[in-house]
């Protein structure tokens, strides 16, 4: 099996350890990740999607068309990219007039045309459905005896009517994916709540975003977890960088380590903290490393 690997922006340009662990994991489970040469920002749903639907849909269609040219489905490990590409595909597949309008812009400006032949998929869902929990568990060398606050993020499962990945109010897919490493997913108040960064809010009104994050951190801390695990580099950045901003805005002292699911799997596969670029993150990973050793 092969699949087109959509990088997006934040993962590859800020947290490359996520990319490193993902490439290694997919290689181990026998899925070839094919580079999408010349792909761009998805583009960001909160900014482009909120400003000009035509620009947003055209740039997204160009990205999808790159994978169509490769004859592959797309995998992304960012909820924002997943949401943007998935929604753009849905818009164009269901509205022939819109598809013609966007293809006219693509014909004028690029070498691509959008056909609708590639599916858009999320990394966690590919691992769960195509690889399976049993096979994944075989890849791991050491059990991780830690308590985890799982953060689903918003655009992984929602809108459920379109995504069709199951219930979003009380899901278990990520908890199952975390627990095969030996870690325990600990329930906490308002677990399905947003991190606060999306919809263009982080860049526009950061103090409001920070207030969302504070509520999440309060609830996670009360549950007594060792770290946060997410499946979205934007949520990841919000919990990592945003945690300092919470401490600054509220005088708190939160220091929860933040891991993307790929990084958690990286630790379980025996990768070092340096290979997973934890050193470039704001929150110290040391307490987690200490506990698993």
């Amino acid at each position: 099996m092969e699949i087109a690997y959509f990088l997006g922006c934040i993962m590859n340009n800020r947290y490359p350890g996520i990319e490193k662990a993902t490439r290694m994991l997919f290689d181990k489970v026998g899925i070839e990740l094919k580079d999408m040469e010349g792909a761009s920002c998805c583009p960001a749903p909160g900014v482009f999607g909120s400003f000009d639907q035509k620009t947003w849909a055209t740039i997204a269609a160009r990205n999808i068309a790159i994978a169509e040219g490769m004859g592959d489905d797309i995998v992304t490990e960012c909820n924002g990219c997943y949401g943007s590409l998935f929604e753009a595909k849905e818009l164009l597949d269901e509205n022939p007039a819109k598809k013609d309008e966007i293809n006219a812009v693509l014909a004028e400006t690029t070498k691509y045309q959008y056909e609708g032949t590639s599916n858009v998929r999320h990394f966690a869902e590919v691992l769960y459905n195509d690889v399976g929990l049993d096979k994944l568990a075989e890849m791991f060398e050491k059990p991780l005896d830690i308590n985890v606050a799982v953060h689903y993020g918003c655009h992984f499962l929602k809108p459920t009517a379109a995504k069709q990945l199951g219930d979003a109010e009380n899901p278990s897919i990520l908890d199952e994916l975390v627990e095969i490493t030996g870690a325990k997913s600990v329930d906490y108040t308002d677990k399905q709540m947003c991190c606060g960064a999306g919809g263009g809010l982080r860049s526009r009104d950061k103090s409001v975003t920070t207030s969302f994050t504070k509520e999440k951190l309060d609830n996670m801390t009360k549950a007594g977890v060792d770290c946060i695990v997410n499946v979205c580099p934007f949520c990841h950045m919000q919990f990592d960088v945003g945690q300092n901003e919470v401490n600054e805005q509220y005088g708190t002292d939160f220091h929860l380590p933040v891991l993307h699911l790929a990084q958690l799997y990286g630790l379980a596969m025996g990768l070092s903290a340096d290979e997973l670029t934890f050193g470039a993150q704001q929150q110290d990973i040391a307490p987690v490393i200490k506990k698993i050793n």
């Binding site: 999408m36 000009d52 740039i59 690029t110 009104d205 409001v208 901003e245």
Partner: protein
């Protein structure tokens, strides 16, 4: 000076003080907005995030909204004064009649009744406030579920933004349906939605609320209501193809762990970046975010 003239001058003073009050509110709004802008800027030096992506928000633009509100408030204040003047003659007669009757209690009852009034005349929308095309634009865009909303409020009940900001998602949907375009697009609260979909998931009428909010934001952006910080993110994509572009520190980090130093995106392929820029130009996105140079 007649009693009526004295009353008129009295209400004249009232009118001025109304304006003073709203001006003060304007100042307050402006200073709040400015301080939040400053906090955005002060956070920009964080280690991991591109500091450029969060430079400044549009102070001038933010100031514009409260000002517009103030003008309408002043207009409304004038209306009240006029109405008060019109009714003052009657009131004077009433007072004289009532004082003859010594009916102080009846007067108090009237005041209580006034306090219980749910709407004042100036709270009522008129046809002048309605843009009849506005709702149709939603329907044409495939968002016909805006018409299905029955205002139960389930959306607002679960909204994490509504807990901490003036964003009232049920009201926005209602205003879109009513055609209150200017009120919807000029309200900065429209931008408080994180698109978390909680409202949409729980809506018993399957209204595509998030798409409605995003469409309303498109209308707002095209009417000039856009924060500078958002324009800046748009500019990053025009310049690099990425909302969060790479930097030298991350290039080194990538190399250290055995990844390609520059990812195989628009960062590596200039011709790919040219295509993204051509799309932005063809869709006039560059003009929308005030980008010069395409």
């Amino acid at each position: 000076m007649s009693v009526i003239d004295r009353l008129k001058s009295l209400f004249g003073i009232c009118k001025d003080s109304e304006i003073d009050e709203t001006s003060t509110e304007n100042d307050k709004l402006t200073s709040e907005q400015t301080s939040s802008n400053e906090s955005s800027v002060s956070n920009s030096d964080s280690k991991i995030e591109s500091s450029k992506s969060i430079v400044g928000t549009d102070k001038e633009e933010e100031v514009k909204h409260p000002k517009e509100k103030i003008f309408s408030k002043i207009k409304k204040a004038e209306k009240i004064s006029e109405k008060s003047l019109d009714s003052s003659e009657g009131t004077e007669e009433d007072i004289s009649v009532k004082s003859e009757d010594n009916s102080e209690d009846a007067k108090e009852t009237d005041n209580e009744r006034d306090n219980m009034t749910l709407l004042n005349d100036n709270d009522v929308y008129t046809l002048d406030d309605i843009d009849f095309d506005f709702k149709e634009r939603f329907v044409e865009a495939g968002l016909e579920t805006v018409e299905h909303c029955f205002q139960c409020g389930t959306c607002g009940g679960g909204c994490p933004s509504g807990r901490r900001t003036p964003y009232r998602v049920r009201q926005v949907v209602r205003k879109c349906l009513l055609g209150l375009k200017e009120e919807v697009i000029s309200d900065p609260a429209l931008w408080m939605c994180t698109t978390c979909y909680t409202c949409q998931e729980r809506c018993p009428r399957s209204v595509t609320i998030v798409d409605i909010i995003k469409f309303a934001r498109n209308e707002a952006a095209h009417a000039g209501y856009m924060a500078d910080a958002h324009k800046a993110t748009g500019k990053f994509v025009i310049e690099s193809g990425h909302g969060v572009p790479i930097n030298d520190q991350v290039k080194a980090l990538r190399k250290n762990i055995g990844l390609e130093e520059v990812p195989p995106t628009t960062h590596k392929y200039p011709e790919a970046l040219s295509e993204v820029q051509a799309i932005c130009k063809a869709c006039a996105f560059d003009k929308l975010v005030d980008y010069q140079g395409l």
